[in-house]
């Protein structure tokens, strides 16, 4: 049986740990709210851009842009979104595992798979293995996500246009709710021209049809697509970055929540053990006194 002092010390240390995990949970919850706001703020932009790209590719034809060209999947690049820091449950492990599984199954007959890593955790994992890493960037934050998605988009688009890669995927944690993230694999290049939303048929009938012809496109439709499709690719990456940020905080929040709960359980178990040990010591001492008194009486 451990001594009273050692149990007391353990209780104090677990209490400290609980304080830390509880604070981390609260911080993650506050940051999560901000990250969710950023996702919502990006929606009008995404919606408008998607609509314009779909309109343009509709009038200019799906073959109008080289970024729409499907060339098979001989050479593939994967953009991997993880976080810089751990203590977020299986958040990073899920992404890394999905990348491994995806390369082993879907991309089994691809000649070359290069990785563009975002977040230190993926770098730690893949740099120790025989993986071809084209670039590594620190995980995005609310302030850097836009720049990071812009730079990453420019890189993969250039790789694609110069024929270094034939297809680009991204793997990230999609934010479902604070307690569930969904690891998603999504193709970013060749870009798939978004289908025209059918729900807006009445609006389209009002504006579209004969009116569509009246629209002035400056410069030409092809050149416009040239400018706008990269933005479309970028916004996809931006959204993934935001989802990954929110997912990280969500995962950390629930991981820290259960850590706090576990610490609480451990404290009550240790307290029970401590009380028992103390009672045993008291009983032992009493017995000794009574035994001594009995002996003197005799």
């Amino acid at each position: 049986m451990p001594s009273l002092k050692s149990i007391r010390k353990r209780i104090a240390s677990v209490k400290n740990t609980r304080k830390i995990t509880r604070a981390m949970k609260l911080v993650a919850a506050a940051k999560l709210r901000r990250a969710q706001d950023a996702i919502i703020a990006a929606r009008p932009y995404t919606r408008a851009l998607t609509q314009v790209v779909s309109e343009l590719s509709g009038v200019a034809g799906p073959d109008a842009h080289p970024l729409f060209a499907d060339r098979g999947k001989k050479k593939v690049a994967i953009v991997v979104f993880t976080s810089d820091r751990g203590l977020a449950g299986a958040f990073n492990a899920n992404v890394v595992k999905t990348v491994e599984r995806f390369t082993a199954s879907e991309l089994a007959d691809s000649e070359e798979v290069t990785l563009r890593l975002i977040g230190k955790k993926s770098n730690q994992y893949f740099s120790r293995r025989a993986a071809k890493i084209a670039s590594f960037d620190a995980a995005p934050t609310g302030a850097t996500a836009l720049q990071l998605s812009h730079d990453t988009a420019a890189r993969v688009i250039d790789d694609f246009l110069t024929g270094k890669v034939d297809r680009v995927y991204m793997v990230y944690n999609e934010f479902k709710s604070a307690i569930s993230q969904n690891t998603t694999v999504q193709q970013i290049l060749p870009a798939v021209p978004p289908a025209k939303p059918a729900a807006k048929a009445d609006k389209a009938a009002d504006k579209g049809g004969e009116h569509q012809v009246d629209f002035i496109y400056e410069p030409s439709k092809q050149e416009l697509l040239q400018r706008l499709v990269p933005l479309y690719v970028q916004i996809g990456l931006y959204r993934a970055a935001l989802e990954s940020i929110a997912g990280e905080f969500g995962a950390r929040m629930s991981a820290m929540e259960s850590a706090t709960k576990n610490a609480g359980e451990m404290i009550s178990r240790l307290t029970l053990q401590y009380n028992r040990a103390r009672q045993a010591a008291i009983t032992k001492e009493l017995l000794e006194i009574i035994g001594g008194a009995e002996a003197l009486k005799g």
Binding site: A41, H150, I216
Partner: protein, 141 residues
Amino acid sequence: MASGTLSTFLGINLVTPRGVVAHAETDAITAPGELGEFELLPGHVPMLTALRPGVLTIGEKSRARYAVSDGYLRIDFDGAVEILVEKAVPAAEVDVEAAKKDLRAAEAELAKWDDKPTDGDWQNLMHRVQWAQACLDVKAS
């Protein structure tokens, strides 16, 4: 907004990935187009045009100036103007010192580029130069 009749104002909506920056009604817009700067007045025919990094001015009488980067401007049949750009910063919020520093840093790196291939990283540098220039321009005038 009445469609069909000639509208006398422009209902603009300036949107970035970070959210809606400006939503107002105005009398004129000056924007940095792909083929040069242009001014847009009410009653313009429907148009879709690409924008370069530069200075966007909203309004003729009361002016609001923004540094903007790549995007597009689309004017609809009813005079609704949708301006979608990757970045838009009001002139008052531009940090001149930071922009100058960034411009110098990016130009210094471009100077070192020599005959390395002009790949995605090079384009990112070019974009940094253009954006810093746009930030400086919006302050200059």
